[in-house]
């Protein structure tokens, strides 16, 4: 079946199997393996991507559902060789250990900062509630989101 959508700013037109989940389209068909699978049932957030500005679990979305819509994945965060503020803040804060949850965490955080540029700690924790990390205990991740938010406001001030 024909699928047209925007992926990380590029317009794609593909012929796909209608039974495909979005995560499989990204990972298997397009070989964009930054998006991870940790549970396949919407419980871990490793597969989080941003769909029209909202963080969603790509294991719970069929590929056909993104027709005509805009998808942002971890691969789209870096712009012209420049890391996104969130990526830099994750690196500087020690928020990355094994890194398996990182792409999903980044995308949930990105969606949060897109709608709430200066979130409270409580808002950060709630926005990340669907993203499991088994390594860090979340604290450095929360700090990283706070730091990125500060970097952004400094930037825009």
């Amino acid at each position: 079946m024909r699928l047209d959508f925007t992926l990380n700013g590029a317009v794609l037109s593909l012929d796909i199997d209608p039974g495909l989940r979005l995560i499989d389209l990204l990972r298997d068909v397009l070989d964009m393996t930054g998006t991870k699978e940790g549970c396949g049932e919407g419980e871990c957030g490793a597969c989080t991507i941003i769909l029209d500005g909202v963080a969603v679990d790509s294991c719970m979305v069929m590929a056909m559902q993104v027709r005509g819509r805009e998808v942002l994945t971890v691969e789209g965060l870096e712009q012209k060789g420049e890391l996104d503020e969130l990526q830099r803040a994750f690196i500087d804060s020690g928020a990355i250990q094994c890194g398996y949850c990182t792409p999903g965490m980044l995308m949930s955080a990105k969606a949060l900062l897109m709608r709430t540029p200066e979130p409270t700690e409580h808002e950060i924790r709630s926005a990340m509630a669907g993203n499991l990390c088994r390594c860090t205990g979340y604290l450095k991740i929360i700090q990283a989101v706070q730091k990125a938010s500060q970097m952004q406001s400094a930037h825009h001030a």
Partner: protein
């Protein structure tokens, strides 16, 4: 910040592959795309115990794209024990690649190999298995009974272990009070975010290459060769980036299976499990039921203690014979108890297989003994901190059970510092709250080891080389699980050689490339043992570098020093690059070192954790309000990593204390085999953790460092349970303390 007088040690430098992780560019095993790869899907037992009566493959074989289905009829009959890491170790070899006597829900019966993942999954669902179901033994206390159905031909009782010192029996009679408990710790899923998976391929010469997220490449090589009956040099193992392990990827589980399938089909085979398969059919934390009797005198001194641990290793033995000793040893190295008996019995049950899990038995024994000690303090009417301070070890106390020196043991400093930071005194004076919400505080102390010294051979060989372009390459079987092992080694070498860590390369572990390491990334040995090796080898390399520089600069070695990639003399300087090139051209020599490092000891690491909780008496819900963790680490090599290990450990311990547990139905089938049924703590549930370090140096460790990654998980659950018991006046003794259990315990008070 680096430690005083040091440039790189103590500094919080990000993990070596952080940029690739942040961009999503790094490939984990499941992300690798090998040309012509086939996909495997396991057929797992749906029942807890039984015999496969009939296997109907017809429909499955008809699925387009299926290449083959391989079962217990095809797999080699070479039993192995996946926990074995050295050739010749005595182990119970009770595992096979596939079996028709299924011993737990998730046991491997067969595998489908197909051209696509979808085809392999569809076909696996169409394999019809008929069983002769046998009674399942789920309760470890029933496993050893005479009427219990035997799980293995040898019976269900595997081994009895004992460690003792002094005369606990008669000293117990002198005690003013004897406090008894029965405490249960759960079977827990490791829950690394990356599920288990690996890829195996066979080349024209018949050499199998396995790419796998593992903790010990040489162990994978050994087990694959045993399971397939192949010489070890026919198996090459490459470690892939690990998406977390916590011990769960410590034992080769899928590697022999994938290697077998690759041999059968002659093509690369990818075997990647989903979450449910990972929960069911990999490894779990060992469940334990501890019975403990502690005799104390009125002054608050422990006069004698008797501990019995019933250890449930699940359906296969794996490390079942070793883990009780790991538990037992800890109980002689934390408090000054001269008269003590530790005993353990290990049993099989028809439940998922236990293995290594962060702390290797220490969290279990710590929960049993530390909860009991709080009961003792309460019975004596004594403050739990004060009571512990009367009994904790001092630096260099002898281990009464004859274990290696505990070294510069700084547990007392941890407790003192932690109590201050936590404001223990102030908090204990606060009212508990008599209404719906109760508040309480609790603490626990812990100890853990630094490697295998004293128990098993512990050594590593490493190669260091200064390349003619001035970089240093370190080859050793290092496996970064995400904890920062590689950067830790880089920082140690960087400090000795005064070279920026970015000029140091450590390739991923590979059996063909790396010199031998006896035990891999396990047993809390990496910083202390492997770091010790890198420290010493870098010192050797420095000596060679200075020797060559002395000739080049025509100056005596004594006047030379290293600075930021240069050797500086009184009359001139030379870069490492120039010296390495000079050595090759003029001295016909290469600046390299091959070093065998034998672990010099096994000092104990220590920690003290403090928790404040709020409990809702009606719903049984617990919220951790404040948390302080203080650890005696000798010296942090990378302070950020140490904090990260501690914070992550608190999260894992919080899960064990309050919510994580594999649960079973009456027939022994796992009822918590997905994340929607198996809850791990998420960001809103995580308390803020205040971390403090005691850095008094351990003489035999590199720059004074000792272990942190495992020990930080050890005291979490008892600290939290003690806080709950403090809040409610309960005697909660079964973990996790779920809301239902808490409500029941309140009713029992």
């Amino acid at each position: 910040m680096p430690a005083a007088g040091l440039k790189y040690i103590g500094k919080s430098i990000p993990i070596h592959d952080v940029r690739e992780k942040a961009t999503g560019a790094l490939r984990y095993a499941g992300d690798l795309k090998l040309h012509g790869v086939l996909h495997a899907k396991l057929v797992l037992s749906e029942i807890a115990h039984g015999r496969v009566k009939h296997l109907d493959l017809e429909q499955a074989l008809a699925v387009p794209g299926v290449v083959g289905i391989y079962t217990y009829r095809d797999a080699p009959d070479h039993p192995y024990n996946s926990h074995q890491w050295l050739e010749g170790m005595e182990v119970q070899k009770d595992e096979l690649i596939f079996t028709d006597h299924v011993r737990f829900h998730g046991d491997r019966i067969a595998a489908v190999v197909a051209e696509t993942r979808e085809a392999s999954e569809r076909a696996a669902r169409l394999v019809h298995v008929e069983y002769d179901e046998l009674p399942a033994v789920i309760d470890p206390e029933a496993a050893g009974l005479l009427n219990a159905t035997p799980i293995h031909a040898s019976g269900n009782h595997i081994v009895h272990k004992r460690i003792a010192c002094g005369d606990a029996e008669s000293r117990m009679r002198d005690a003013d009070l004897v406090i008894e408990d029965r405490i249960e710790t759960p079977k827990v899923h490791h829950a690394a975010m990356e599920t288990h998976g690996c890829i195996a391929e066979v080349d024209a010469q018949g050499t199998i290459t396995v790419r796998t997220p593992c903790q010990v490449i040489f162990q994978v090589q050994l087990i694959v060769s045993q399971a397939l009956g192949l010489p070890m040099d026919k198996v090459r193992v490459l470690k892939t980036t690990l998406g977390g392990s916590f011990g769960g990827k410590g034992q080769p589980i899928l590697e022999p299976v994938a290697a077998f399938l690759a041999l059968k089909v002659g093509k690369p085979v990818r075997l990647v499990l989903d979450r449910t398969e990972t929960i069911l059919s990999t490894r779990t934390r060992t469940k334990a039921i501890g019975r403990v009797r502690t005799g104390v005198d009125r002054k608050g001194r422990i006069v004698a203690r008797e501990i019995h641990m019933l250890v449930d290793t699940g359906a296969y033995c794996t490390n079942g014979e070793v883990i009780p000793m790991a538990m037992g040893k800890k109980s002689f190295r934390l408090y000054q108890i001269q008269d003590q008996i530790f005993e353990a019995d290990v049993v099989y049950t028809n439940t998922p297989v236990a293995g290594a899990c962060r702390g290797y038995g220490s969290p279990q024994i710590c929960a049993v003994t530390e909860i009991n000690l709080d009961h003792a303090a309460r019975a004596l009417g004594m403050d739990p901190v004060e009571f512990r301070m009367r009994n904790l070890v001092h630096p260099y106390n002898a281990d009464p059970a004859g274990g290696p020196s505990i070294g510069n043991a700084r547990i007392r400093d941890c407790v003192t510092k932690g109590s201050d930071l936590f404001q223990w005194r102030e908090k204990s004076a606060r009212p508990k709250g008599g209404g719906r919400i109760a508040r309480g505080i609790g603490m626990a102390c812990c100890t853990h080891g630094n490697g295998y010294y004293g128990g098993f051979p512990d050594f590593i060989t490493v190669d260091l080389r200064l390349t003619p372009d001035g970089a240093v390459v370190i080859k050793g079987a290092f496996h970064d699980l995400g904890c920062g092992t590689v950067m830790t080694m880089m920082q140690i070498a960087a400090e000795v050689l005064d070279l920026d860590p970015s000029s140091i390369l450590i390739p991923d572990a590979d059996t063909l490339v790396c010199p031998f390491d006896s035990a891999g990334t396990q047993a809390s040995r990496v910083t202390y043992v492997c770091g010790g090796a890198v420290h010493q080898a870098a010192g050797e390399l420095k000596r060679k570098l200075l020797e060559s520089a002395a000739t080049l600069l025509a100056e005596p070695i004594s006047g030379l020093r290293l600075e930021q990639g240069y050797v500086i003399g009184s009359s001139g300087r030379a870069s490492y690059q120039e010296i390495a090139q000079y050595a090759q051209r003029q001295l016909r020599s290469d600046l390299c070192v091959n070093l065998l490092y034998q672990s010099p000891g096994n000092p104990a690491s220590y920690g003290a954790h403090f928790a404040e909780v709020e409990v809702d008496r009606i719903t049984g819900r617990v919220r951790v309000l404040d948390y302080v963790a203080v650890h005696d680490v000798g010296q942090a090599i990378n302070t950020g990593f140490v904090e990260g290990q501690i914070q992550g450990s608190v999260q894992m311990g919080l899960g064990m204390a309050l919510m994580e547990e594999l649960t079973f139905d009456a027939r022994g089938r796992v009822t918590s085999s997905r994340f929607s049924r198996y809850t791990v703590p998420n960001a809103p549930e995580m308390p803020n953790v205040r971390v403090a370090l005691i850095e008094e140096g351990e003489e035999s460790g590199p720059f004074g460092a000792k272990s942190i990654g495992e020990i930080a998980t050890v005291p979490v659950a008892p600290a939290i349970i003690n806080a709950i018991n403090d809040a409610l006046g309960t005697r909660i003794s079964v973990m996790p303390a779920t809301p239902e259990r808490i409500v029941a315990a309140i009713q029992d008070v």
